[in-house]
Symmetry: C2
Subunit: 374 residues, 2 copies
Amino acid sequence: MKPLKFEVLKETNDSGARLGKITLSCGTYNTPIFMPVGTKGDVKCLTNEEVHKVSNGLILANTYHLFLSPGMDLLNKVGGLKNYSKWDGAYLTDSGGFQVFSLSKTRKIEEEGVYFRHYKNGSKLFMSPEISIHMQNAIGSDIMMSFDECPPFNSSYEYMKASCERTIRWAKRGKEANLNPDHQALFGIVQGGPYEDLRQYCIDELSKLDFDGYSIGGLAVGEAQEDRIKTLNFLRDHMPKDKPRYLMGVGTPDDILYGIENGVDMFDCVEPTRIARHGVAMTSNGRVLIKNKEFEYDFGPLDPECDCEICKTYSRSYIRHLFREDEMLSLRMLSYHNLYFLKKLTDDAREAIKNDRFQEFKKEFLLKYYKRSE
Amino acid sequence: MKPLKFEVLKETNDSGARLGKITLSCGTYNTPIFMPVGTKGDVKCLTNEEVHKVSNGLILANTYHLFLSPGMDLLNKVGGLKNYSKWDGAYLTDSGGFQVFSLSKTRKIEEEGVYFRHYKNGSKLFMSPEISIHMQNAIGSDIMMSFDECPPFNSSYEYMKASCERTIRWAKRGKEANLNPDHQALFGIVQGGPYEDLRQYCIDELSKLDFDGYSIGGLAVGEAQEDRIKTLNFLRDHMPKDKPRYLMGVGTPDDILYGIENGVDMFDCVEPTRIARHGVAMTSNGRVLIKNKEFEYDFGPLDPECDCEICKTYSRSYIRHLFREDEMLSLRMLSYHNLYFLKKLTDDAREAIKNDRFQEFKKEFLLKYYKRSE
């Protein structure tokens, strides 16, 4: 029995954009899909009920953070994160690799795994492909990620090659360690930075292991957008077409559209909730920095074209007042709205693909949001 | 036309506890009632929809804070705080006096009013009885407070006497300044600290002005609980019986019960939402400090006897995890639960009065919550 079924419902002629459907034991999810990030089980500021309204029901949780707290033992005892957080949609988990490798000063990579220190209390910790998968088994996520190394985009070819080889060995070890292969899908992660032959090598080797889907790693880590697009463009024609493709950590509206254009099916990013906490709203006409003086007497909604609960009820002026006065409610409002905005962006993108007008939709959006004509 | 109608529905024989009904143009409110504090228009962390679920529909907003932001001009332009915050229940406003007098180092009291400095930017500001009422007119609150001086409880008799006289002069000036007497009720505030003759003097003088209700000021400002109860006990028999009585800034469950016992009809306090932000839940069996290690594996609800949305869904262990990880969602959960707890306390108190068992109810509650037998 396969824990994940993927169907490509439609392909487009003028780009790599495609419609798909992911079927998990807990539900069906149309792609392209944007997944809000619920780092510690919850999407910041929002209840499960709200997350349902601003997502398509599939969210991401971070294995690294949940490994530190509440920990594997507790999640095993409570029967998984869904029992704990009461989220009744689906969870995808990352492997923890990205966070562990971000701790560049306090971690040591060995073939067996990675030694690192707790970012709060400094205690020594160890993460291996097996531990990562067992932690994801404890979480009980519907879609798991292989434990990979995520080197900087500008690493040397030699380093990147050795790293890709290790990532593949680790992917194999992780797949063998999966305690729940019938119910928890597992993706392999394609690394290789800007080197196309290494990307191809990863794809070939991971494909032999027959994962349920393939993630694009090592992008959205600080590289230039044109480098990112170049890599996506290569991957469009070289990744397996019959499996979902997940671009990790993306992102901004334009990167999502470039991803869709290049055949990506799944996205996640902290961007919408993180910028919300800095007072930024995403709107049809671009970003709005709500604390700006110009909104003091602006009694219109955050986004006149948005039909979310916040835009239907509250004014820019009121949200500005709450934000300037450090009222947490404003962060809720902005987080809710921004996630709704990205949900709508991907909903609209699917609709555009369906109607054979994705490229037109993309152009219109970029012009309106970024005042950018390609 | 009177903006507020008050009916005493039932009095008790064995205490001052009474049932009442306040009718405002926007609705009817049963007393005793607890009013959550929405300092800047919103109750911290919660949406209007949630506030409706955890209150009886009447909340407090702070004139001082709204005077600083968004300010009188904006509130006049937008047509009042309800139009701004979209709260469709009722607002009671304080006069700003308490906050202004708390700024003891930067304010100067004169007969005309009080000069003080903006607590953030240091700019010079002025508040008088007239400005306070005009600001409350701009807010459009259903129940307004007279601008009073709130001296420390331990002030000398001479100071307190002079202050009471000024408070009465100011109450009169405020009443005359009310721009909207047909739709916005106005309460007089009884000061006098521990001095019963001064309390009586205030009551007599304010009664001549025929306010819509009377507030008890100068309590819950740091005095001992026995002093507070002694004063309440005196006021029970001396305040007008045909008008609502509002004990400002109270409070904790026990102080609410002592207030009800002494004929108080209305309460407000930041306590439930403030302690929530410090991780404290009010429960049938007393306070719970959610970050405590003992709750790590406690998969039961915050309060096993509570039927609020939080207790019906989430566990102590999960809320503890979120709180320890600085997730704002935990503050929402605790704020929601604590307000629901105080709503239920006053709902239950009304029911007990109705059934002639208020004293019994009070004793049971205090024993269970505080392990205190009087």
